[in-house]
């Protein structure tokens, strides 16, 4: 796994609301193509903040992030947004499917926003890939948690991203559904050579990860 996809160097994030709070402190990290990295740690350890920075949702106070040949920390807001659309897929704990759209439209939307041709057909192929094509015209509101997460994974994969970031992907699922979702996510990523960073409390994910990083108090202790 020497083909480095993501390289984060000395990332820090501080919030200043009168008192400076350091959420992430001097974190360096690499993720290779096809590699599954699991970040674990207690609440407040900075996992989600780190994930936000890696995905370009939040700018680091200090440090650098390179995804492929692009320096995310140097991009303008508009360029970063576009980069996120085309190169990063997200899977959220609460699924975050838009309930005003059908299942198919949820998957089709990022493809459409990226100007992809045949957005509808591509979305249906993605749904077929996660075994959810039969749900295509349903509202996300009527789906089970496991079904929602399969749709969310299809949406994350919709624009063939280089990197998939998952925040507590099993957090809202029962054991069986959680296991199925993780197998689907990691299996697809490995097969297609995408890097995956998962943030979770769920230690059952560990066997699926190539590497486990423990965060404590915003940092990664050396023994990792």
């Amino acid at each position: 796994m020497s083909d480095v996809l993501l390289r984060a160097e000395s990332l820090s994030k501080e919030y200043d609301s009168g008192v400076v709070v350091r959420a992430v402190s001097d974190v360096s990290l690499t993720v290779s193509r096809g590699e599954i990295v699991l970040i674990i740690g207690p609440n407040g350890s900075g996992k989600t903040t780190l994930l936000s920075m890696l995905g370009g949702l939040m700018r680091p106070t200090r440090g650098m992030i390179h995804l492929g040949d692009r320096a995310l920390h140097e991009l303008s807001d508009a360029a970063l947004t576009d980069f996120r659309l085309r190169h990063v897929g997200f899977v959220f704990q609460g699924f975050r499917l838009l309930d005003v759209l059908s299942v198919r439209e949820n998957v089709q939307l990022p493809i459409e926003m990226a100007g992809g041709a045949n957005a509808r057909r591509t979305a249906e192929e993605m749904l077929a890939h996660v075994d959810a094509l039969h749900l295509a015209e349903r509202s996300p509101r009527v789906l089970s948690g496991g079904e929602k997460q399969r749709v969310a994974i299809a949406r994350a994969l919709a624009n063939q991203p280089d990197l998939i970031l998952a925040d507590e992907p099993t957090g809202s699922l029962d054991s069986a559904a959680g296991e199925a979702a993780i197998q689907l996510l990691t299996g697809t990523a490995r097969a297609e050579g995408r890097g995956v960073v998962i943030v979770s409390h769920d230690t059952r994910i560990a066997p699926h990860a190539d590497r486990i990083i423990r965060m404590v108090d915003g940092g990664i202790p050396v023994r990792n």
Binding site: T81, R84, L85, V88, F92, L98, Q108
Partner: protein, 377 residues
Amino acid sequence: MQSRYSTHMIPVARRLLLRNRGGWMVTVSGIAATVALVLFLFAVHDGAKDGSTRYVRTAAVDIWISQKNADNILKSSSFLRASLAEDIAEIDGVAVASPLARLITKASIGRTRTSTIFVLAFDPETKVGAPGTVGEGSSDLKPGEIILDRAFVEKYGLAVGDAVEIQGKRFRLAGVSEGTNALVAQFGFARFDDAEELLGLKGIASFIVVRLDNPKDRAAVAQRIRAAFPDLAVHQAADFVRFHEDEADAGVLPVFATAAAFGAVVCAFIVALMLYNSVLERREDYATLKALGASQRYLLRIVVGQALLVTAAGCVAGALFVAALTPLLREAVPALALRYSPSLLLIVPCVLLIGALAAAAPVRMLRRIYPAEVFRA
């Protein structure tokens, strides 16, 4: 950058908007009420303007002559020697010149009802200055006969042959004129000799109305009249019509325009409030869209699209409301001259523009939604 979009894009704006059907209905109703109010105000204005000017447009008069500084029959006073008509008739190019008297007086209908009326009294021999359109009855007036405006007749339930009393003199309704309703008062038409009796002055006219051998010679003949009578104001028909239009606009247009401006502000607030609440309610969805990579331009299109949808629906609902209400109003208030001119369609782009501008506040709020909010449980 996001540059290409499918022609069959998912209607995210409409779906997000219609998710809150109650809010959508209230907003559309509010905009519809505003649009209906503005439509109604301008229809009243256009109707009154038409009613104030149609007589001078259709009276088949080529040149109007008055005292200096009098340039309309609505809001000016002019007193001329009626026999001037005979002198003016001698001028080359003049076919007929007749006196026209104008009185603003009260008409009594029955024993208890009275109404202000603009009486224009023309020479029954030449009929220059008679109303252009007489819908019922005749414009051949015998002594003691009068032609009254349609709205006046309907307002008081009169019919040809009925009687009205003006300054103690009884008049028989001989005809009904169309398009002679100036909203604040309606026109009536009588014989010049009857008007002299009402005035109590013989040989006094308000205007001399002139018909030419060749109407194309208006400018030249007007110049000859001015040369012969330098103390008089000589107006060609087109100018005289324009003076009336200006007068009608100057009277009520500023009031109606102010009311319409208030309507526009109310409309903008309604749209802004609805969109603001919509963004607030769907904050998580907008954060998700941002996280997924929706550009600011894409989100702007959603919010402005919602503004345009809601204002367009408001325009349609307002127009339908006015269309349904107008016949009822015409029935209930005959004096209300409503005229819907094609220029009222300008309200639609104005309201759409107001809606788009009203999206500014929600768009500002949208900017303050951070994509990382999507990680909040």
